[in-house]
């Protein structure tokens, strides 16, 4: 049980602000809370009626009223459950949509700074942790705020002596709860490091199992796991002994005060100074004063995980930066444009060295340019610059003489065909993956694109051909096949005038490479092509080779080594 990292108050406020902003959710929450409180108050009526019937104060026909009250309580319980479900669903949907919108706004360049796996988990099942908070804790707070006061008021009206006993013991619950909680926190914090280390040990060992296997230490660790688990149990039980004291105190306060109330009532009934109806009423009502507080305490502990998830979600939502960029409105020049970089410097936040420094170059319409250089030299950044994923910190990019920053970015991107280093295949059919950038493309267009990208043969061999679903849980394609699907995507945009390829043949075997190179050559026909390339076959396609080093253009690359190469080259 790690202590919460942030102050929970802020999360509560953020969450309430979110709920207020969503009208439907706010309505459902209000309904849920109202039903919970009303059902809590009906317990008073139920006690009243039951005491009346059992003491003989009410006619037996009051039983039918009692039945009505119980039916209404059940109905309210149902309403509360349904409304709570709708509230939780609404809040999760709202948060999820904001998170998704946020991811979209961040854009590809800034998204890489987040841990993508965590984002996916958080946006998916991570938010489910909010359920106990929304459906359990919030209604419990509302009930705890109102019902004990109502019970006390009724007790005061019925029997002053009993009411005073309840009034005096009732605050013991929050006070002791806080005291014990505070002490628990101190103990937990002292042991937190040990607890989390011991608790994480198992996952650590399981993750490292391949390494342990390689060095013959796997069996030995089984004994260690046992020892560590014992140590973990010891430490946890030491903490729990204190933590459970709070529930001991709550339980004792509630049951002992019932005894404190019941015994004097019995004695006063004996002396005739109290009537049975009041006595039974007090007996039935007294526990109801304590119950909501105990429920609230339990639900609070159950909702801690949700608090952490919400914290994480709001941290992503609050992170700096608005939409990727304000959309320009300038029209994209017709035809195949000239691309000119003027003293462009690109910086990534959190990095000292610029990714591109003072780069000036001109790419003529229809020219085929290969970008070469060691990794980290700025080749991909240059492509991302042309795509509008990143903006120059200094200098500018001109497309057909117009500053890229002022262009309608969507219209500009519609003129590009981009094949990234590791193209993502979406959880959709092969055909939909190919027509990603051309919704209007028909089956024939898709087939033609696949044909041109040398992908048709293996796609048609797939179990459902073009309807085969790809993606993480989809068909199993090799790296070369995935790359050719990505190329088909580019082919499926016949209107594209500029081709941007990021190492399309990296990690491919010889046969796949030849196919991709041939496809690329066909695609580059009549278009401007900027290709980040490592392999000779790809570089040979280019009219011009630009060498980048540490973010600078360093002119043409060094001459190719003679084959076979001389020894001791470096």
């Amino acid at each position: 049980m790690p202590p919460p990292r942030k102050k929970p108050d802020r999360m509560h406020k953020d969450l309430l602000r979110l709920i207020r902003a969503e009208r439907a959710v706010a309505r459902h929450l209000a309904l849920c809370l109202a039903a919970a409180v009303l059902a809590g108050l009906l317990v008073l009526a139920q006690a009243e009626l039951l005491a009346g019937v059992l003491s003989g104060g009410f006619a037996p026909s009051a039983l039918w009223v009692l039945a009505g009250v119980i039916a209404v309580r059940a109905l309210l319980g149902w309403v509360q459950g349904v409304a709570a479900g709708r509230t939780a669903g609404g809040v999760k949907s709202a948060l999820r949509r904001r998170l998704l919108g946020r991811l979209h706004d961040l854009g590809p360049a800034r998204l890489t700074r987040h841990r993508s796996g965590e984002l996916v988990t958080l946006t998916g099942r991570g938010l489910d942790a909010l359920d106990p908070y929304l459906t359990g804790y919030l209604p419990a707070v509302a009930v705890a705020g109102i019902v004990p006061v109502a019970v006390l008021a009724r007790l005061f009206a019925a029997d002053l002596a009993s009411a005073v006993i309840v009034l005096v013991t009732l605050p013991l619950i929050p006070v002791f709860g806080a005291l014990v909680g505070w002490h628990t926190k101190a103990v937990t914090e002292r042991q937190w490091h040990a607890l989390s280390r011991l608790g994480g040990h198992f996952l650590d060992v399981v993750r490292g199992l391949p390494t342990l296997r390689a060095f013959g230490r796997a069996r030995y660790q089984a004994g260690v796991i046992k020892q560590v688990a014992d140590a973990h149990r010891g430490a946890t039980m030491r903490t729990l002994r204190v933590a459970f004291l709070s529930s001991l105190v709550l339980e004792l306060a509630a049951s002992l005060s019932l005894a404190l109330v019941a015994v004097p009532i019995g004695l006063r009934l004996l002396s005739g100074s109290l009537d049975l109806h009041t006595g039974l009423l007090v007996l039935l009502l007294a526990p109801e004063a304590y119950l909501p507080l105990r429920v609230m305490g339990t639900r609070f502990h159950a909702s801690m995980e949700g608090v952490a998830a919400a914290d994480q979600a709001f941290a992503v939502l609050d992170a700096e930066g608005g939409p990727e960029r304000a959309a320009g409105a300038a029209k994209v020049p017709e035809g195949v444009p000239e691309i000119r970089l003027e003293h462009v410097t690109v910086r990534y936040p959190g990095r000292d060295d610029p990714a591109l420094r003072d780069v000036s170059l001109t790419i003529a319409p229809g020219e085929r340019v290969a970008l070469v250089g060691e990794s980290g030299a700025g080749k991909s950044t240059l492509l991302h610059l042309l795509l509008g994923f990143v903006r120059p910190a200094e200098g500018r990019v001109l497309v057909g003489g117009v500053d890229l920053a002022s262009l309608d970015l969507d219209a500009w991107r519609a003129r590009l065909a981009f094949v990234p280093q590791r193209a993502h295949l979406f959880a959709a059919s092969v055909a939909d993956n190919i027509r990603l950038g051309a919704q209007a493309a028909g089956d024939a267009d898709v087939r033609a694109a696949a044909e041109a990208a040398q992908a048709a043969e293996f796609v048609e061999a797939l179990p459902q051909g073009y309807d085969t679903v790809l993606g993480e849980r989809g068909a199993d394609l090799s790296a070369g096949q995935r790359q050719r699907i990505a190329l088909a995507r580019a082919f499926c945009r016949p209107g594209a005038s500029v081709l941007l390829l990021d190492e399309p043949t990296a990690r491919l075997d010889g046969r796949s490479e030849a196919a991709v190179v041939a496809a690329t050559a066909a695609l580059a026909e009549g278009r401007t092509a900027v290709v980040v390339a490592h392999r000779p076959a790809m570089i040979e396609l280019a009219d011009r080779v630009i060498h980048l080093s540490e973010g600078r253009v360093t002119g043409p690359p060094p001459p190719r080594p003679a084959v076979p190469a001389a020894e001791g080259r470096s």
Partner: protein
Amino acid sequence: MTAATSEHTARRPASAEPGGLPPVTPLSRTRLALAALAGAGAELAGLALIACAAWLITRAAERPELAALSVAIVGVRAFATGKGVLRYAERLAGHDVALRAQATTRERLYRALIPARPLAHGGADLLSRMVDDTDAVQDLLVRCLLPAVAALATAVAAVTIGFAVLPAAALVMLAGLAAAGVLLPAATGAAARRWSARIAPARAELAARVADLVHGAADLAAYGAGERALADAARADDRLAALERRRARTHAMALAVGTLVQGATVLCVVLAANAAGLGRVGTTVLALTALVAFEPVLPLAAAAERLAGVTEALRRLREIRATPPAVAEPAAPAAPPPGPLTIEVRDLVVRHGEDRAPALDGVSLTLGPGRRVALVGPSGAGKSTLLAVLMRLIDPESGTVVLRGADGTAVPLSAMTPESVRERVTGLTQDPYVFQTTLRDNLRLAGPSAGDEELARAVRRARLDRWVERTGWDTQLGEDGRTVSGGQLQRLALARALLYDPEVLLLDEPAESLDEPTADALMADLLDATHGRTTLLVTHRLHGLDQVDEILVLEQGRITQRGTHAALLAAPGYYRDLYRSESLTRR
């Protein structure tokens, strides 16, 4: 645990294990019984408290002698105290047993994972879920089993009280408690299983859409398809939300039914008492007993919903244990031949799945004593698969791997235990791991008896000495500790391999994720350090390979080229292409 029993546990077939039951040792069973007793006692004390108080008050109203009430007065006080204390005892004992059971489950899961199983390579997510699943045992005991026992004890006590006072009322209570404690949980449990089966695909769909948005961000932006993907994700969210709303309705219905059953039972008890002409004392005791008896029974509906998830988790754990290991253990293991060893691989075919193309397709090679062979090729060509076969982590579909000793005896790999193979043939594997422990212990796992001098030598040869000096031998590494960069991790793994000093050294991409000068220096040192050692080096960097005895080019599971550096450069093919592109991208 002795070596003999640990062997026994590890090899016992999973099917022999009792189905689904949490692993509790005899000692734990006593503790569990104590926890159940305390829990039942706490609920019984609560019931007795109310019954006693009801009797006390209604009897007092009849104005008997004070002495007639004294037992009830003592009872009320005793039960009030007892309830709190017993509850505390139950929670402590219950958690203690649950933690013990979890520890046993984890140990058993771990032992099941020691022999490599095909599913153990399912990525970090699968591992985390597996570890989370072992928590299910805790839930099963603390949130399902103990509450059920306490509820049962309370119900039995309430019905017994009923029989003592008025048998007709007892029958009513029995019916009501059975409906709320057996029928309702059975219905909610079934509903939970049905709903989770319907919701799981919607959840997976949403996860896939979100993953597409995050991992495919660049593709979406470049092709102007972001808005569409966003809308797809929103639609998936809608579908999931609609299903969850309907599930919440079922859940709410169960709550409402519980309240109704409780109320109806109390009403019927009162009606029955009135009909039988029972006095005020008896009627009140019966009514309040019935009312309170439901308190531990009603939560069972929610516990049954939880149980559906718990059994699912336990089923997954059983499945893991039931998956046959990737490697067949020989019935009568042969001893490895005496070194120095030669590895002979003949016509090796390996498949990662029945319906998949072979990862290795007829590979043959010989690695003689003191020879160094390099294996190059594109990713996915089967390089790491070959190393896995040599380490006996997976079995080939066909073909043989033989260890030949200096005396000429040849022992097939399949005749030896995986452990004895890896004692001789191992090294730097794919995805090395940093454990959350000190730097010293992270290194020493490859040489438990190594002295400081040996550790220092291994670290020096892996070019890790400067980092170690800066970091300190006793610094905690791993998630909570000091972070280790990719390059440092690689060198740490190399230091481990050098410390372990196997007869046949395998090195899988030792220079992976190092910057260029470091990688060059490391490879140079490595080639120095492995001089005269039997070494198989997997690499994608060709720099320095002129020093190895033979280079094999592996493409799509087949060896397409083999020879020395000079010979391969003279021939057209993958090797020459890669060498050219490497020189183009060097500084």
